[in-house]
Symmetry: C2
Subunit: 349 residues, 2 copies
């Protein structure tokens, strides 16, 4: 239990005043090279660690961290969990003169995204947490932040080749691979598997990568399964009828829904009285959870969405205040949920 030395002690060792030591620590210049080197040497030798409490208390600087994520509502609450994590982190670090301002955009509107980016830039934040849904706009925004030397972090999805401090999210390919693996445990050889994309719109980059992962796994067991990709638009009666026909076939034993809407398939299975298929989906939407508990969905795969928000803010905090290194790629664990462990997962934190 060696008591940490203080700036005052370093100053005494170096034969200067605390102010000079502080200037060296913060690279504020105005110190002779000789003093600077000597102080740095002492700091190194005694392994000086600043007291962050005192630093934050004395520091007049207020850091502004801004987050921009898709909004959420009762119909689609996927983004509620990250938002919750952001808020929890904000509370934890508020004493450190850090305020976190949360912005939201409509994930189907580039315009709303651009509008918020503009507002954020005008605020001159010290750090940004961002869900980079729209590629070009994000690249442009990132460039502007780079110029201002403002750190930014991506969550949920990533854009390669940018200077983001970190990415927090899933490895989609691997989570697809895992889904196929889980299905293979319970699916007999020679049966059919449906890979379903739901929603009538373009699949997200995430969904595409998941499907690649699924294909990759299935290609390792050649000839064992037949599989078909289906686009299901539940708003379109024809699409729905076609899907109902497909899923009713006896040789179809497994279904993987590659976006977060597995509950739509569960609903159809429920209506048709189908119970003998294994359905695997992603993300802990309330309706997915409901069907998981009822047994219509066998597995849900999740990526700690609350953690993404929490850790994203904490990483910015660490970078700005603690000045500690932040991992650039931070893949979150790929969690497997069943009716048996879901409650423990949800209750935790």
């Amino acid at each position: 239990m060696i008591k940490n030395l203080r700036i005052k002690d370093i100053a005494k060792l170096a034969g200067v005043s605390p102010g000079t030591v502080d200037r060296v620590i913060h690279n504020r210049g105005q110190v002779t090279e000789e003093n600077r080197l000597n102080i740095l040497k002492i700091i190194e030798e005694v392994n000086y660690k600043p007291n962050l409490l005192a630093r934050s208390l004395a520091n007049k600087k207020n850091y502004l961290i801004v987050s921009l994520c898709p909004g959420f509502n009762l119909q689609n609450d996927y983004w509620k969990a990250p938002d919750h994590g952001i808020e929890r982190a904000a509370r934890e670090i508020s004493d450190y003169n850090i305020s976190v301002k949360r912005f939201y955009f409509d994930q189907f509107s580039v315009q709303s995204f651009k509008k918020q980016l503009k507002e954020i830039l005008e605020l001159n934040p010290d750090g940004v947490l961002l869900s980079p849904v729209f590629r070009e706009e994000t690249i442009d925004f990132a460039q502007k932040l780079d110029e201002k030397q403002v750190p930014y972090i991506f969550i949920d999805s990533n854009i390669d080749g940018l200077n983001n401090l970190s990415y927090l999210g899933q490895n989609s390919f691997q989570s697809g691979f895992l889904a196929a693996r889980l299905l293979s445990y319970s699916t007999p050889a020679d049966s059919s598997i449906l890979i379903v994309q739901i929603g009538g719109s373009e699949p997200s980059n995430q969904a595409i990568r998941r499907e690649e992962g699924i294909h990759n796994f299935l290609s390792q067991t050649p000839g064992k399964y037949y599989y078909t990709h289906i686009d299901l638009d539940t708003q379109n009666p024809k699409s729905k009828a076609n899907f109902s026909e497909q899923i009713s076939k006896g040789d179809v034993k497994g279904i993987i829904v590659i976006n977060s809407k597995a509950f739509e398939v569960a609903t159809i299975m429920n209506d048709l009285g189908i119970r003998d298929k294994n359905l695997i989906g992603y993300d802990l939407l309330p309706e997915n959870i409901k069907y998981l508990k009822e047994g219509l969905i066998s597995f849900l795969i999740a990526q700690r969405p609350e953690e993404q928000g929490y850790k994203g803010i904490m990483s910015l905090f660490n970078s700005l205040v603690v000045k500690s290194k932040v991992e650039k790629n931070n893949y979150l664990p790929i969690d497997i949920l069943t009716g048996e462990n879901i409650d423990y997962y949800l209750n935790y934190i």
Copy 2:
């Protein structure tokens, strides 16, 4: 962004000095009832939140938190992860005048446990994190801590009916239930399941509860599976031979090892060239992980051991310093690991 009021502001509002406000906040008495009530009212009204940084910085009090867990080594590193979590938490809160001292005991020796408890009591700690392996000794110890009003937390296993601030660990029954559930996905009806306890010694409370969970699940599908409990002592050639014979039977399709030594079964399967059975185990010992990746173990079930240590210390910190409420029962998520997601789980943090 309303700036938080300070003690000084409260004092002004109440027409007293900061010292008096402080006396009220900390129940140090020596304040007229009239002033006390008035100050409390104002604190309530303006929703005063103390600045923890300033509080800790000014506070001369040094908190001592002590942990007592089983030691670990290369052969048995189960307790390495909790220890790591304890250390991480200690680092994070060291600025708050908190030091964490870690004690270890031999989990097979009551004597070593008792010896450490005695030492700990002599240190007069402000909080204790404990793995209550030995029941009677823990009850006695807990009573002494109760008398001193020292908060204590149990991790990994629990003892009911004590005044521990919190319990952090798994719900063993449910994790057994889940293991049986996972096995049922891939095990055809009418096949046999082995439930294996390894080690020649008494099964732990945890293992017993897991087996109860397994039985509970299996009893919900009556007649679907045959199952047998086997005690395997790998040091005993006869026990090993008997086990090898059992596991070689064609109708045995699934094995659950109810303690952390699934790798022993995997080794035997490996030696015998058996590849067509599903093996499920617990805990992320290096050898278990090795066989999980090789596919000899289908699933491992884990309970975030690192988190148990981390959160245990943080809960004591929250109770002692932040003065926030701590949940008494904190079951950790029951995580399902396969060869596909294990690396993301291990890399995380």
